[in-house]
């Protein structure tokens, strides 16, 4: 469908998955991963309160800036890098066509 975008998620074993993500369902990256049954827990349900959906952005897409909540949670998460984001805070939009991310280790 023309509202879908293609994104790529590399799991913790290094396997790359091509996923079709709808942009008209208010879905975030954590939810798309869960919909494809990738090992993303999403413990807090998407409130930026657990960091179980932390991932590293490996493509050059420009994402909306981190919110205060996301910054605060990442400051208490582990294995954090400059490219770290919480998947639950990244809304699927057309601009993210071709997005590449790698799941951060479980903490």
């Amino acid at each position: 469908m023309d509202t879908d975008i293609q994104i790529y998620v590399t799991d913790r074993e290094g396997k790359r998955h091509a996923l079709l993500a709808p942009t008209d369902m208010q879905m975030n990256l954590m939810e798309v991963c869960k919909a494809y049954e990738l090992p993303v827990e999403g413990t807090c349900g998407g409130m930026a309160l657990c960091a179980s959906c932390q991932c590293y952005i490996t493509s050059s897409h420009i994402l909306p800036e981190r919110s205060e909540d996301e910054n605060a949670m990442l400051a208490e998460a582990f294995h954090v890098r400059d490219t770290s984001r919480l998947g639950c805070q990244i809304l699927m939009t057309k601009e993210l066509e071709g997005l590449e991310v790698t799941l951060a280790p479980e903490a």
Partner: protein
Amino acid sequence: MIKTDILIIGAGPTGLFTVFEAGLLKLKCHLIDSLPMPGGQCAEIYPKKPIYDIPSHPEILAGDLIKNLEAQIAPFQPGYTLGEHAVSIEKTEEDQFVVTTDQGTQHQAPVVAIAGGLGTFEPRKPPLENLEFFETKGVNYIIKDPEYYRNKKIVIAGGGDSALDWTIFLEPIASSVTLVHRRNEFRGALDSVDKVQELKNAGRIHLITPAEVTALKGKDKLEGITITREGATEDLVCDAFIPLFGLTPKLGPIANWGLEIEKNAIKVDNSLDYQTNIPGIYAIGDVNTYPGKLKLILCGFHEATLMCQSAFKRIYPEKRNVLKYTTVSGVSGFDGSQKQAAKSTIKSID
């Protein structure tokens, strides 16, 4: 040995509501939870977040939902074993289950309802080399006895309420308190942030930000830590390190109870009563799975209700029972309390 009719593992919203539905059927309940307070995720992860999909509550804070549930079930006098987690389960010859906690507390019941959510909350541990070696030798994630820290040099890491609260609490007890956080901003109650600011201004605590603890040192026990701040490292002598990075749920020992597990959840018969593959053990709420499962509080309430009807038949196979409506029968508490709809007023018009 604590004896009850339904032993509920997990005191989140689903476990709490089970007490109400069981109470209407005159069944007594006891709850076990690893957290020191009832509420599960609602209390531990998001007490201040609003929930919008509880029927008849256009909006309710998770913490208030728990308070309301506690009030609703109070007439049925549930027992609690808090701050302990269920470790093992055994079946007796009399068809009863005996559940033992990590602290050795034993509970016996003919029916066990696992309402364990995503599992037992365990501390999130920073990825530091030798961390496990130093556990109980200077590294602790939970403060059980503050007196243990008297006249000790302690380092606390974290940026949330527990890091702030324990810094404030331990400051007069310990000989020195150092708080380390990766950024200058703290996410906690404003009062606590202000208080820590005061303590820092008065020179009563050391605040090191933006920084993190990157190594632990010591021979037989913790003797010091390394702090990395903007690329530079510095060593600090200390007796104790308390990393407070929140809790994360793990299914834990329940996974080894012989229950059918699928994708980290317990398989149940959703066409009937949410019973597991072991008769007498039910699983309700976020902890279970079945085709079409939705992890929603409102679904947990429904599952608890059906489960209690089945539990009643299991406990009293000979007793006839029909569903009663609270609007008709009211609520008769085990504490002698009685709630009943007011009688209608009948008055003639002359």
